[in-house]
Structure formats: C-alpha cells, structure tokens
Amino acid sequence: MNSIKSRHNFLVALAFLGPALFFYLMYFIIPIPMSFFYSLFKWNGITPDMEFIGLKNWNSLFADSVFWKSVLNNFVLVIMSIIIQIPFGIILGAMVSSKMKGSKIFKFFYFIPMTLSAVAIGLIWIFIYEPNFGVVNAFLEIIGLGQFTTGWLGDPSTAFGAVILTVCWQYIPFYMIIFSAAISSIPVELSEAAYIDGATRIQTFFRITLPLISGTIKMACVLALTGSLKYFGLIYVMTEGGPSHATELMATYMYKQAFTNFRMGYGSTVASFMFILSIGLTLLTLSIGKKKVDTYA
C-alpha cells in the first residue's frame, strides 16, 4: 500500500518536473561529464577522428603559462571587483535608499548599465578608450595631462585595468540595489536613537548601518567570487583576451582554444578545470557560512 503510494507520488512529481529535467539534464548536467570525457582526447570537434591521449591535455594545462596567467587574472578580477564595486555599491545604495527628494530618479538612471548587453557595453567602451578619438584621451588633453594619453586597450600595461573599470561600470548598479535593499530594511528607530544620543551621520553609518549589513557584504563578496568565473562577453568583445594575454581569463582562453583554434579536447580541459574550481569555491563559501551559523547557535 505504502509503496504504491510512494510510487504514485514519484510519478506525479516526475510529471511536474519532467519538462524542466529534460532541458536541464540534456543541456546542463549531462554535458559536465562529457566535457571531462573530451578532455582525454585530441580532437578538432568536426571530423570524427578523436584520438585518445589520456591525461596529456591535463599535463599540458598545468604546464601552460598562458593558462596560469588567465587564472591569476581571474583572481585579480575578483579582488578588484570586491575592492571597487562593494564600497561604491554601499555608498550609492545608502544614497538611493535615503528619503532625499529625487533619490528614486537617481536610482533609475544609475541602474541603466545593468540593462545593456556585454557586447554593447564592450563596444561603447572600445570607443571611449580609443587612442585617437576616444573620450579618455580627449579628457586628459583638456586637463593638461596629455603626456599620459595612450591606447588604453592596446597597451598590455593598461588593458586589464581599463577592462576591470568597465566591468565595475556594469556591475556597481547591481551591488547598489542589493545594498539599498539591505539598508532600507534597517529599522529607522535605530539610527534615530543614535541621533538622539548625539551621534553624527558618519558615526551612525559606521557604527550602525555597516555592522547591520555585514551579512549582505559577505553575500556580495561570494557573488563577486562565483560570478567572476563567468565573465566572458565583455572581455571577449573588448580585447579577445589580448594584447599578449594581458586580459586573458579562463573563460576567454577556454573559448579560444575550443572554437578559434579548434582544440576541443584542450578547451574541454580548461572548462573542466573551471568547473572543479567553481565547485571548490562554492563548497568553501558554504562551509564558511555554516561555521558562522554554528558559532551563533
């Protein structure tokens, strides 16, 4: 009786989950082991001759200095994202969540970059950084710093910084919204009590607001960490990972190996490494999160 019922429940649930599972398994879950499988082959992806080479791709990967450069760049991107985006996100979030007149209009305009595609943003900023008619150089000329003009995206020493600033331009509005939601959920009584006790606005911000949104700050760091592995479009459009791999990320390197050089096996190896890394990072943040809950309990 019981087993009939549980079997029935399973079939009903399967009926509801069926369509989602079909797409998810076929286009997301099954491809994961497939990528690991492909990483054992030398293969151009088009002709059927796949040559089994064991762990050779993995050995090459660990010896590939360009790959390690891309890992390092991903790491730098995370750190810079956290250092730049989160403080600006908090400041802007505090501003647009204040009851000041017009803060809603500011919020509306600030959010615009989040609605644009990475391709559009990348192309706009190519023109802004352009050496001959770009706005950055024109601005430097005007304020008398003409000697610093350069081709920002073509110069290996400035390209990555220029790209990171564009990433920040795109994503700061996102963090602004997260923090404005967190700040508006703080009860007004708390800051009012602080004012009555004679605290200044700055003191209230550092002593009350910041500690109360510390959970959101941690969450924003996790989002920046896991999100950074996914950056692709913007950088691919702006620099394709160049010049001389200065802006190479794991994602751009993976794409180029698999679909520009048609080294599908090697590209799959890079992708598999990204997968392992993302699972590792997720487990790490989960275990840190758990530890915190444990100490509270």
Partner: protein, 275 residues
C-alpha cells in the same frame, strides 16, 4: 537644521558625478551616431554634430538589422514561455511534494547557479550538431532554457514555499487534482515571482552572447548581440554607423526599462535580494 549638512552636499556632488559617469557613455554614443564619418574622424569626440543626420540609422536598418531583431524576439519569446512553464511546474513539485530523490534533484538545480556555463559549451556544440540544429535559431532554445532554469526554479520555489498550504488542502477536500491545484491556485498566486523571474530571464537572454557565438553561423540566423558583433567588423571605417547600430540594439530593453522601472530592477536582483 540638517539642511546644510556638509555631508549632504558632498553626497549630492558625488551623486551628480556618478550620474555623469553612467550617462556620458550613452550620451557620447547618441551624439556621435548623428555625425557623418567625415565629421567624426576630423573633429573631436566632444563636438556637437553640425547637422542631425539619420543616414547612419537608415544604413543600419537596411543591413539585416530587422532580421536580427526578429531572430532575438523569436528565440527569447519561445525560450521564456518554456522556461516559465517548465520552471514553475518544477518549482511546484520541489516546494510541495514528497518523493524519492527530491533533495538530489533540488541540489542538482541549485548547483547550476554557480557553475560557469563554459563547462557545457563543447558538449552543447556537439549535441546540437548531432541533432541537426546547428546554425538554427531553434538550436539556441535548449541551452537558453537549460542554463536559466536553476535561478528560475530557485526564485519560484522560494516564493511558493511561503504560500499557505491550507488553500490546497481545502481544494483537495473538494476533489481537486495536483494539476488543477497548481494551475488554479499556486500559479496565479505566484504572479509576483513569475513576473520577476520572467523579467530576469528576458534581460539575460536578450543580451546573451556566448551560445549564439558558438551555435550560429550564417548571418540570417544571428540574434542581435551577434549581429552587433558583426557590424563592428563591417563598420571599422564608419564608427558613427556602428554607434547607430548600438543604439538601435539597446533601445528595446531601454524602452522596456523606462516603462517597467522598479519592476525590472526587482526582477534583475530577485536572485540576490530576498523579499
């Protein structure tokens, strides 16, 4: 008393500076799209166009642009319908039913939120070739649905869990099936979450780039983002036309944002902000 607080003045100055930083790139784009390439290359980037010329827009419009727009609309539309229907049905099962492997299925979906889609690129490419959908608009729908399901199900499941079970219990007494409970009670009540998730998925898919880069080849099948990427190659000598193409491609979502405002902001951040 706090009216002339220096902090507020600093805040205001910062706020206006940031506004400038956000809007200037867009302004730059609009302004220069009206120049002819002569004026653009000879003059300075700051210069106001001497005459407003729509030539660039006409040129872009006559170059496959309507086709790209139509392609994106079709793919995004069909993907959204499948995503919302299959996602909300799945979320319902995960939020209400007891069955074997439920936790495994849930963890599998949640994992997908943080995994970079690059792990799926080569296999999706080979699968799509195998089933004969390479270089077809329809080939994009599978991956589009697949990679957006995790966040879709996550948001919908969270919302459905907060709907009281008592409504369904009452319906059950009246002899309602799971199917009718879902469509008549839970789905309509989930409207706020469905709206949020639809907006989120729509913006992500409208701007999607990497799957179209991998799965589409011929110009007539390109979605907007990929078309834009191609314009860049064709317009190296005519930057203003490129800028016009950029504006035309971003306009649909900007208009949608102008109309929906706060709703779009809520949708775009629904995965990260609770409530």
């Amino acid at each position: 008393m706090r009216k002339h607080n220096p902090l507020m003045i600093i805040g205001l100055i910062f706020g206006i500076l940031w506004l400038f930083l956000t809007l200037y790139p867009l302004f730059f784009m609009v302004m220069n799209s009206f120049k002819d390439s002569m004026q653009f290359f000879m003059g300075s980037a700051w210069e106001i166009p001497t005459s407003v010329s729509w030539d660039n827009y006409v040129q872009v419009w006559n170059m496959n642009f309507p086709r790209y727009l139509l392609n994106t609309t079709i793919v995004v539309g069909v993907s959204l319908i499948i995503l919302v229907l299959s996602g909300s049905m799945g979320a319902y099962a995960l939020s209400r039913m007891k069955f074997k492997f439920k936790n495994l299925v849930f963890v599998l979906f949640i994992m997908g939120i943080t995994i970079p889609i690059h792990i799926t690129l080569v296999p999706v490419y080979t699968i799509t070739r195998q089933i004969g959908l390479y270089d077809s608009l329809w080939g994009l729908i599978g991956p589009y649905v697949g990679f957006n399901l995790p966040i879709t199900i996550f948001i919908l499941k969270n919302f459905m869990e907060d709907i009281p079970v008592s409504l369904e219990e009452a319906a059950k007494i009246d002899g309602a099936t799971r199917w009718s409970m879902f469509w008549k009670i839970i789905f309509p009540l989930s409207a706020p979450a469905v709206t949020a998730v639809t907006i989120y998925d729509m913006v992500i898919l409208w701007n999607e780039f990497i799957f179209s880069l991998v799965l589409i080849n011929s110009p007539k099948n390109r979605p907007l983002t990929l078309g834009l990427w191609d314009f860049q190659g064709q317009f190296t000598a005519n930057i203003p036309a490129m800028l016009a193409a950029l504006i035309l491609s971003t306009l649909p979502l900007l208009l949608f944002y102008a109309v929906s405002g706060e709703k779009l902001i809520k949708g775009m951040t629904a995965g990260a902000v609770k409530g």
